[in-house]
Amino acid sequence: MVSIDTELVIHLMNRAGFGITPDELDSCTGIAYEDLVENLLGSKESSHIPDDVIFRDHVDLHASRSGVPAYWAYRMISTKSPLEEKMSLFWHGIFATGNSKLNNLRSLLNQIEMFRRSGTGKFDDLLLELSQDPAMLIWLDNQDNLNESINENYGREILELFSMGVGNYTEDDIKECARAFTGWSVANSEYMSLMAQKDSIWPYGRIVWHYDFKPGIHDVDTKEFLGEQGPFNGDDVIRIICSQKATARFIARHMYNFFVADEVPVPQWKDTPPRDPAAIDTLVEAYFEYDHDIKSVLRVLLTSNFFKESRYQKIKSPVELVIGTLRLSGEYNDDSKVDSSIFGVIAESDYMGQALCNPPSVEGWHTGEEWISSGALVDRVNFASQHIGNPDNDGVKHIVDRIRTDLRDDAHTVGELIESCGNSVGITRISEDTTEGVLDLFSQEEVQVKGKDAKIPIEDDTILRVLEFMVSSREYQLC
């Protein structure tokens, strides 16, 4: 049986990262769990595929339609700071901005880099950066939000989807919030929004946007917002929003949903209580105790008992499944592996229902069980078995070598082989169904009679078949 400590490390890396390879697991030996959490929270290490090499080989990854998701995939596959990428993914799911309307992926990539830079800082600062992020401003039409004629889109969504959630403010608050954000725009907004609407690349490609405050169209009059009164600007509104208990609860529930256990979709939160109200209370407390600092809330979450006890209560998102599988398979384990295959693999996440940089709406993706449709499940199983079942992949070759070496003395039982293969791909609790399924792979009479206690020679082909079966199992869909 795998030790509790090992199981906990695998759990932590599944949630705060994209899984863990057997070698990475070895390197965690002897490190206290709390220290592992601190390492994850503090890590700003670079990736093994540097940006300059990526851009030399894929010159279009700066800006092209298929390029930015592929670039982000490289980052997630190769990063040595997986929590940084995971937090970027977390915020991308909440502050969901889509290129389908922007037609300016470099601007959207700047937003994702902002999540990477500020995603674990004070929530007030993140919300301020978001409110000045050109991709968000164009996405929600704030360039058309003028003192003479307000556009409520951003004012509404910052309250409904980005901070407090439905039911915690009034329609008047939305209008007053929108007034505070009048004039928060992008430079050359008329030309830039026209190019976005027309998907124009002429004459010299897309010009990336930058924030521009236009005092001439900003409403300087007094506003009344969430019970406070003053000549509020967007900064003031953000300060008021971030001091609300509803904001703390909303962000806490999102963090619980992303890191701990699947919740119902966000539109149902108004009427459905949290799955674990005490856990949400703990995170809300941390939000205020640590002055809205997201990293501190994360620390509380990752070291809590409710987190440690939440194994296998989440369905991997398509991106988690794809990136985790590729990190295991080692297909991009050094910078000479940079090639156009990356576009195909990240497109698999699209087919499974999660197209990076193109969420289905401003509401983001519905998670949990909604990731699993019959078509998506087939895609997920095929993807994982295709990549982990390929002995030419460096990571797979290495896993097979490790298992063969570990089990080399005499003949080992099928049960030991199953456990070893399961652990190698991050599965620590193997169900009876999966065990039965593996046993069916073997035609030997002894296996049919003795089941997992049967002794068999451990050969590469055998290991590979069991690995492939493991990543096709129900357990591999969960984390």
């Binding site: 080989d57 700066h62 470099r106 030309y191 026209l194 690349i201 002429w202 004459p203 924030y211």
Partner: protein, 340 residues
């Protein structure tokens, strides 16, 4: 140097005029009469549809294209990098994915290819031909990005000299890229990941190094291309710093160019039939650079304006010492001439 003109327009179509992530050019001159520019489009790296060579006059009169993925296997490209003409107007194109140099005549008809041999290292690794330069005797120099070496080949492709190795010392390389040969026959190599230019004689004897890592004047960040004019001045595409630096042959910086693009002939033609964009564009100020602190660097300034270089990947001189700077992310060529 002063700005002369800008050539090109963006296009995401797999055929026809307009550039899509151009990577290098070669100039064929009929002295005193005309200049024809051959431009390599890297295009979309997901599908490679549109990876091809287009050729057109200096005056932006479109002539044609070749090497399209729809063409015969032997003529099409996978990951082409650089171009050079030999003395018989045969265009040589490196392809680092297929480890070969493809050779075309000036009408774009495929002639033959030279397969680069990585076995000289005894390990069968990929060669990855990146830069190419051809001297007055038609000897071909090619840089290997994976093996970190330079090979000197006969026109038929026989290796006559090879030097280099992985490292940062004199004569060693880290992912070398563009190259040029000067009128004395000396070779200049953009030693990309060592952030420097190295100069060798035609036998591979190390002569000197230009530049060092950094963002300051005279320093480079990932230089991708080098070109030498008839006065032996050295132009460097300082790719990672979004600029071009011109040095004298001793290494003193003469000029730093950041780009000053104007509207090309093709751009004017496009705007003439898209009046809404022309009018909105006329009301905009595309040179404003009031960026937040975290965006105050060369990359973001380049991406958020239009006149500055964004991705200056290649530099080439013509016989009159006009400098052509190809920008992959702005899909155009900016042309400069020596200040009088």
């Amino acid at each position: 140097m002063k700005t002369v003109k800008t050539i090109g327009i963006n296009s995401n179509q797999p055929v026809g005029r307009g550039f899509n992530f151009p990577y290098d050019i070669a100039i064929k001159e009929d002295l005193g009469k005309s200049r024809t520019i051959y431009l390599l489009n890297r295009s979309n790296s997901a599908t490679r549809m549109g990876t091809r060579i287009q050729y057109f006059t200096y005056e932006e009169d479109w002539i044609g294209e070749f090497g399209n993925p729809l063409e015969d296997d032997e003529a099409k490209f996978t990951r082409p990098v650089t171009l050079a003409f030999d003395n018989s107007d045969q265009l040589h194109v490196t392809d680092e994915a297929t480890d070969e140099i493809k050779i075309f005549n000036s009408e774009g008809k495929f002639q033959r290819s030279i397969k680069l041999d990585s076995d000289s290292q005894g390990n069968g690794d990929r060669f990855g031909p990146a830069g190419i330069a051809i001297d007055s005797g038609d000897f071909i120099y090619v840089s290997s990005r994976y093996l970190n070496l330079i090979q000197k080949l006969t026109p038929e492709g026989r290796v006559v000299k090879e030097w280099g190795g992985t490292g940062g010392g004199p004569g060693e390389f880290s992912m070398p890229w563009g190259m040029d040969v000067d009128s004395q026959g000396d070779l200049y190599v953009a030693d990309w990941r060592n952030d420097r230019i190295q100069k060798f004689d035609s036998e591979g004897i190390f002569l000197k190094t230009y530049g060092e890592s950094g963002r300051g004047v005279g320093q480079f960040h990932r230089p991708s291309s080098v070109a030498v004019d008839t006065n032996l001045n050295v132009a460097v595409a300082d790719w990672g710093n979004e600029r071009v630096q011109i040095l004298d042959n001793e290494g003193s910086v003469i000029n730093v160019l950041e780009g000053e693009a104007t509207l090309s002939k093709w751009s004017h033609e496009w705007l003439d039939v898209n009046l809404d964009e022309r009018e909105a564009r006329n009301r905009a100020d595309l040179k404003v650079l009031d960026l937040p602190d975290h965006l105050k660097n060369a990359y973001h300034e380049a991406s958020q304006t239009e006149h500055k270089f964004w991705g200056p990947v290649s530099v080439k001189f013509d016989s009159e010492n006009q400098l052509y700077v190809t920008e992959h992310s702005r899909h155009r060529i900016q042309v400069f001439e020596p200040a009088s």
